[in-house]
Amino acid sequence: MTPKRRRLSIVVIGLVMLGTAAALVLTAFEDNLVFFFSPTDLKAKAIAPEQRIRVGGLVEEGSIEKSADGLVVNFRVTDLQNVVPVTFNGVLPDLFREGQGVVAEGRFIQGTFKASEVLAKHDETYMPKEVADALKKSGKWKGEAKP
């Protein structure tokens, strides 16, 4: 095999692999992309019950209710214009608090958002970027917290 043919065959194999990988990536994207919405976005959009989405904003003050066994938590996510009620069965992150940024991932089942995962920020000075942007969009952004 000449060096030229060798290089050509390597390039061809590489392209075939890239093609396969592109196909894998595209099919994986189709099934697994999770879109993020603020409560205001959700007012305008209808979300199919099977679609997994993320909802983000602040935990509305006074909205947290726990079931008697403490395992089911209901709260409302707000961008200070609209709210979305969320129900979550599981352990909340350490920094889940009223008035703080939160992102919930899950599906809409009969009008309530059933979260399978709730993410809060990791420390005092940090707000999830999606939440900050959602607040900016709703015009309620009060500026970056001081580091």
Binding site: M17, T20, A28, N32, L33, F37, R54, D69, H122, E130
Partner: protein, 663 residues
């Protein structure tokens, strides 16, 4: 005063770095020995100056000098000493100083041990190292000065983020940076080679140990980070395909490819352009990791305080370094001579497939990590890409690679005998089938995933051992001959066997945990019992206590199995008053076959506590596998042929006759 000295030393380091990046390069172009010889003292001087700056900042932390803004924001007088020191790199500014310290340490190593490098190559390598230094020292001095003073000084500091006050995380950043920055050596050598216009095996003999060292450190760094996330975040998992994890994983994948292609350059003088390209890409991905973590574009625990200016600066460095490297590559690479010839079925061919597969795998991780940023920037739509994507896109690319890892080392250079190699791999096939059959028989409901996973791991482990047995002709010659052959094998050969074997162990752990993990969440009052995977856990009591800089609630959970007491798990929930922040300290009872993992949430004596328990099979194998890989890297590094200083020696006739080396 000490802080000002540190600041001054940093500025001095920048000046030296400018000299180091310009004069030796000019000298090498003109053949001026005096200008070229400036590179070594400059590299040593730069290292010394940065070491002084790092020492000054560390002194500030150790003595709790809160008149330094950085110390006041990230330390506290009550913090244990280990975390005072690790606090130096637990924040953006300090971690950048560590970054440049390691960078200049590598430059210093070239200056100190580079006697046997051609003078012009050494001058150019150090010059490129100097340029990277200029970029990052400029970044620190212009946007992230760690020595900024605070007037008036507060009485006490604001403490380090409690999640970071942990031994696993104290050593995670230095190891990670050793890896990231270590790839700068491969980059500098690549750019220097492009400027020189030639690559020879001596070049590869230099690049390979540095790449190996960086790879080993990065493996250790990622493992420590993953281990930390596992026991500290209290989520029961060890890898989340979080963008920041991916940011460190991409250079690892590319670096693994580089490690293997450098072997081909060294042994066969082939794949030169490709190796140079990989070196540029690997360091580019390391810089991108730094950018992603520090620009605030990501949502993560690692995201330091958001500052667009800093992000832009690092993005600029990333563009200049990788863009410049790639342009230089485009201009110079076509003139590189093609090296040794080989058939498609050969060791070279196997290593090329390894490189192609690893590159494609890197690309899938790259797309999954950056696509959300891209979509946000172009359409404003926000998406997240989670583990399901990576399982669907990344894992299928890795599977053929794992099959190949056992076969490749069995093939000869230049022209391999595939049927012969497969015939000799019957042991690996047997191990693979046995592992699959064992898993099949042990499952209650037969799922294919674990069976396939263990078949692959068995194939890989069996292949690694077979390759070693072949080398020493085990059972084919008298045992004493095999033994003396085993003792005579190069350490690099053992390094490879260990690394591949470690990968197999790791795969077992990863497969078992992802398919068989069990989780129970309950609300438990004192005395109540929860059962998981044959264990009965009883919440005995919850006690409050005071730690050095936190308050803690510890739950005492008695673990029984079939009535016999096994262990007492003590998960904690800590509260750090200075940062007003609670953290979860998981408790783990580890046997070699599984982890029993418990965490407690909020609660009280009246309503009970939320208790979350996982049974994670074979998770210890994940850490063991990674440790074996790291050990493989270290053993290989200790090989005489790779030892820094040895590379100059040409292969002597008697050495050439010795058994083929390790790869």
């Amino acid at each position: 005063m000490i802080a000002e000295l540190g600041h001054f030393a940093l500025a001095l380091a920048l000046c030296i770095a400018v000299v180091q990046s310009v004069l030796p390069l000019v000298g090498a172009a003109r053949g001026d020995d005096i200008l070229m010889s400036l590179a070594r003292p400059a590299a040593s001087g730069q290292f010394l100056a940065i070491a002084v700056a790092f020492g000054a900042l560390t002194y500030g932390y150790v003595t709790s000098d809160f008149s330094i803004l950085n110390v006041a924001q990230n330390s506290h007088s009550l913090k244990p000493m280990l975390y005072k020191v690790s606090g130096v790199w637990g924040n953006h500014e300090g971690s950048m100083i560590l970054w440049v310290l390691i960078l200049s340490l590598f430059g210093f190593a070239v200056a100190a041990f580079g006697n046997n490098l051609p003078a012009s190559l050494r001058a150019r390598v150090l010059s490129v190292q100097g340029m990277i230094g200029v970029g990052f020292l400029g970044f620190i001095l212009l946007t992230s000065n760690p020595f900024e003073r605070l007037n008036p000084a507060p009485l006490d500091g604001r403490d380090l983020n409690p999640l970071l006050q942990d031994p696993g995380l104290a050593f995670h950043p230095p190891m990670l940076y050793l890896g990231y920055v270590g790839f700068s050596m491969a980059f500098s050598f690549a750019v220097a080679a492009l400027i020189e216009g030639r690559v020879d095996p001596a070049w590869a003999r230099w690049v390979r140990p540095w790449t190996l060292a960086a790879w080993t450190a990065l493996t250790a760094g990622i493992t420590l980070g993953s281990w930390w996330a596992y026991y500290e975040l209290g989520w029961g998992g060890w890898w989340y395909w979080d963008p920041v994890e991916n940011a460190s994983f991409m250079p690892w994948l590319a670096g693994t490819a580089l490690l293997h292609s450098a072997i081909v350059v060294e042994k066969r003088d082939a794949l030169k352009s490709w190796t140079i390209l990989l070196a540029i890409i690997t360091f580019g991905l390391s810089l991108m990791g730094t950018f992603l973590v520090r620009s605030g574009v990501l949502t993560s625990v690692h995201a330091f305080a958001v500052d667009p200016e800093r992000g832009l600066f690092i993005l600029g460095l990333l563009v200049v370094a990788s863009g410049g490297g790639l342009i230089l590559f485009a201009i110079r690479a076509p003139s590189m001579k093609l090296g040794g010839m080989f058939q498609p079925i050969s060791r070279e061919g196997g290593l090329i497939m390894n490189n192609l597969l690893l590159s494609v795998a890197t690309a899938t991780v790259f797309i999954g990590t950056l696509y959300p940023l891209f979509l946000d920037a172009t359409t404003g739509e926000k998406v997240s890409v989670g583990p399901p994507f990576f399982n669907a896109a990344f894992v299928p690319v890795m599977m053929p690679l794992i099959l190949l890892v056992a076969v490749g080392p069995m093939l000869a250079w230049k022209r391999g005998d595939l049927p012969g190699a497969m015939a000799r791999l019957w042991v690996a096939a047997a191990v693979s089938i046995a592992a699959a059959a064992f898993v099949w028989s042990r499952q209650n409901d037969v799922a294919l995933g674990p069976v396939i996973g263990f078949a692959f791991a068995g194939w890989l482990a069996g292949g690694a051992v077979t390759e070693w047995a072949e080398r020493i002709a085990l059972f084919r010659v008298p045992f004493s001959v095999s033994l003396s052959r085993a003792l005579g094998l190069p350490r690099a050969a053992y390094g490879m066997t260990l690394a591949h074997f470690g990968l197999a162990i790791f795969i077992c752990g990863a497969v078992a945990d992802s398919f068989w993990r069990q989780e129970v969440v309950v609300n438990a009052r004192q005395g109540e019992t929860v059962s998981i995977a044959g264990y009965d856990l009883t919440l005995e009591k919850v006690e409050r206590a005071q730690g050095p800089n936190y308050q803690t609630e510890s739950a005492f959970i008695r673990v029984r199995r079939g009535g016999a007491e096994v262990a007492t798990l003590v998960p904690e929930r800590r509260f750090y008053p200075v940062q007003q922040m609670p953290t979860t300290e998981a408790a783990i009872h580890s046997t070699f076959l599984a982890d029993l993992y418990a965490a407690i949430g909020e609660g009280g004596a009246r309503d009970g506590w939320t208790v979350r328990v996982w049974h994670n099979p074979l998770v210890p194998w994940i850490w063991t596998g990674c440790l074996i890989m790291v050990a493989g890297g270290l053993v290989s590094l200790s090989d005489r042929r790779l030892r820094v200083g040895a590379p100059r020696r040409r292969v002597q006739p008697d050495q050439a006759a010795a058994p083929a080396g390790a790869d």
